[in-house]
Amino acid sequence: MPTGSAGLGRGSGLWAVGAVVTMLVVLPVLRLIYVVWIEGGSRLGEVFGRPGLDDAVVNTLLLAAAVTVVAVPLGAFVALGLRRADVPGRRGWRFAMLLPVLVPQFVLGYSWTQAYGRAGFTDSTLGLQWSSVLGPWGVWAVLVVNTVPLTYLVAAVGLATRAEPNLERAARASGASSASVLRDVTLPLLRPSIAAATVLSFVLTLESFAIPQVMGTPAGFTTVTTRIYRDLSLGSDPFSFVEALALALLLVAITVVIVVPADLWLTPRLRVTRVAHPEGAPIVTPSGVVGRWIAAGLCGYLVAGVVLPLVALVVAALTPAVGVSPSPGNWTLDNFSLVVNSRTMEALGRSALLAFVAAALLLVLGGLVAILERRRAGRALASLVTVTLVLPGSTLAVALLITYGRWLGGTLVLVLLAYLAKLWAFAHRPISGALDRLPDGELQAARASGAGPLTAVRTVALRPLAPALLAAWLICFVTALHEVTMSSLLYGPGSETLAVVVLNSQELGRIGPTAALSVLLTLIMLVAALPLWLQISWLRSPRRMSDVRGRSLAHAP
């Protein structure tokens, strides 16, 4: 797209952004490889022979496989089910399916232990407890709940952009039953999206830290990420540090082995070659029965997976001490007044400031890469930034620590650098996607009508880009606000974030205060996210788009 901001010094912009990527990602990863080579070198065999380490690696791989095997079909099934017009409250469910993502992983895991564990909510109210909620099964279940929204989203986007209703109608009109259409048309079209969801689910589980730490560690179930955390924060012998570095490198090596071939296969297949026709719902024989079953299933999933645990969390926060009956008569706000102290408030202030600054900078960085990649020279840069999406947080934190720790160790700046490196792709993807959807002619028309390059962008492009920009900011802000994987490895005295304070409190076994802190963290997230989310969906609503685009489309069936 040779239009728009031509002549804004692309060459220097490319160099500047390239330098930032190098500093944030390339250099630290190279440094990690170098240090492992020098420090480990001859002792690497010894390091990997340490007791329990092979368990951690095997656990991590098994867990990633087990979560993926369940979360991907479930996500695809929900996406297909929610296309049916006879699901009661269809629009509401599409929104509700994404709610588990808004709950910080740490809070979700902790709330499950409070809901289903010994002396938990179901134990004290119904006498039902699930003893293995702490341990591999609990970790697996919560990771599935946490991953399904993402696999659902990938599948739903795939359906919306690739499985045009007319393609399915054509099969029906060719004499295929709805089952044949699913087998012959819908699923083959969805295959690349399902593959992408599989890779995403596997990689995200590999690098997950908060849930295994909260639910696995107390039961002696370790993964690579929790082992890195243990090595760095508790390790005393000299081997621990080398082991953490080696594990960080191993994690990224596994990721690369999975992602690179998958990416090569997927990239040409995921390219959207045609504009989807959003008009016209897919064909449905509105029996109503199936739709009601789907709605009931979703309801059960959300209640058992998210709502009940969160209720249990609130109850635990309101209950003064372990052993006290969690009945309303005993509820107090003691735990809240206990945790609302200067240390927490400072941590909260730090978290909010950090997330705000990180999101603002990321919007600029993401936007820059999205603009630069319109030119051939910028494309490599964009690919590099996208790769950071799957760079495990633990690896990134360890790499940044050994690269810049000498000068920045324990400061907020190091944590900020980690956020920028980890979330850059999160900001880049939505903006880049929105730029792709912006029709070429619109900017050219503005230029031909007498607008300068900046005026053209401001008057013509900014309005259609606004939802993507807001969404990018929101994703970065929310993710940074509850980030714990990297923060827990990088914080020092005076630079704890709120999420780290919650994690420390949980490690000390203080149930009430931890629950109260978790509730606070979640509330802050919701308060920050909901107004923006509503604003974004308002900007995106088809009614408004049709106001902009004219009424002619509104009638076309």
Binding site: A170, A171, S174, A176, T273, I283, T285
Partner: protein
């Protein structure tokens, strides 16, 4: 005479109403497609053509009314046969070819669904592709086909369905002559066998008038006029219909003495006798439609030539008269310069009067 209407009609819509997305997209439409007949649904975008087709195909249920296919009731508001159970084939807007299937597999698909073996289905599909002169493209996927080739594959898939009724949902490009020929041949063959028909939605009047046996004019979901292309062109129901179906001039003139298919019209003080229907109102200030071929240059009437447009085989002359502007089409190169006074003759008119005398459905009348 038809002994039983429903047994010979390929399609019958009875008082069909379809609400789509909160909008009344089709409003009380009654329509028949007879054996071997192609009916065009003509209307601007948003007039309900596609919704009507989708209801016939089984993608949408009717809100009220019924759909009958070959004497069988396939859709009521309570119960709608699924698309695969109906004897219809659809050619889609932008063709809706499956991106993951080759042309051959695409065309073989409907045959396979009828229970043929893979081998037999492919043989039959290849034969169809050959009839459309695209057998050499059998292994290509849609992304490797041009627009015209995609259209042929889309039509071949529809023909492979061997249906009684073919639905065309506003094909993005006009059917080229060969494709149209193959399709019309197919209808003739079907008419011999079991009876076949076509319903062709388009917003292009030229295509509708040139292709169809009858044209159904739709506006805002209502059937405005139904008739042969000639009827729609020369006897439009109102000015909107007239403008939609071709160039239209309207003169306002006094009519005297209408009978025997002729009437006397006073234009600029001159009385002329023209062809006109017997029910032309005899009064002052009657709006009279004049198509470009209904007036000639030269004669007893006068006017001033406003503009001349050279159109290749003919020229369009816009003549300003005391009763209004009239467009006259004459073969050959321009014969007069704009701004000069010319003489002209009016041969035929059609009065634009309230539409109550038109039957906008074929519930009871036999138009053919």
């Amino acid at each position: 005479m038809r002994p039983d209407a429903t047994s010979t009609d390929v399609l019958e819509l009875r008082d069909l109403t379809v609400d789509y997305d909160g909008v009344r997209a089709v409003d009380r439409v009654s329509l028949r497609v007879r054996r071997g007949e192609v009916v065009a649904l003509l209307g601007p975008s948003g007039s309900g053509k596609s919704t009507l087709l989708h209801t016939v195909a089984g993608f949408l249920p009717p809100t009220r009314g019924e759909v009958w296919l070959k004497g069988r009731r396939v859709a009521t508001p309570e119960r709608a046969e699924p698309p695969e159970g109906r004897d219809v084939a659809v050619v889609f807007q932008s063709y809706a070819l499956w991106p993951h299937m080759s042309a051959l597999d695409t065309v073989a698909y409907p045959i396979r669904r009828k229970g043929s073996s893979r081998r037999a289905a492919r043989d039959e599909a290849l034969e169809l592709l050959d009839r459309l002169h695209i057998a050499h493209l059998a292994d290509r996927r849609p992304a490797e086909l041009s627009g015209g080739e995609q259209q042929r594959v889309g039509l071949a898939r529809a023909l492979a369905r061997q249906a009684s009724l073919y639905l065309f949902d506003e094909p993005t490009a006009h059917l080229d002559t060969h494709v149209r020929g193959v399709f019309l041949d197919e209808l003739v063959v079907r008419r011999e066998a079991s009876g076949g028909g076509g319903l062709y939605a388009t917003h292009d009047a030229e295509e509708a008038l040139g292709l169809a046996d009858r044209v159904a004019l739709l506006d805002a979901g209502r059937l405005v006029q139904l008739g042969t292309p000639q009827q729609l062109y020369s006897e439009p129901v109102d000015l909107w219909a007239a403008r939609l179906t071709g160039p239209a001039s309207v003169l306002e003139a006094s009519v005297r003495d209408a009978r025997d298919g002729r009437c006397s019209v006073i234009i600029d003080g001159t009385v002329v006798t023209v062809e006109a229907p017997a029910d032309t109102p005899v009064r002052d200030a009657v709006p009279l439609l004049v198509r470009p071929g209904w007036a000639r240059l030269g004669g007893e009437l006068t006017g001033r030539l406003q503009s001349v447009r050279f159109r290749g085989p003919h020229c369009d002359y816009s003549v300003e008269t005391a009763s209004g502007n009239v467009l006259i089409r004459e073969p050959g190169p321009p014969r007069h310069a704009a701004g000069t006074d010319v003489r002209w003759t009016l041969k035929r008119t059609w009065p634009m009067i309230p539409a109550s005398r038109y039957q906008a459905s074929d519930k009871d009348v036999d138009v053919s």
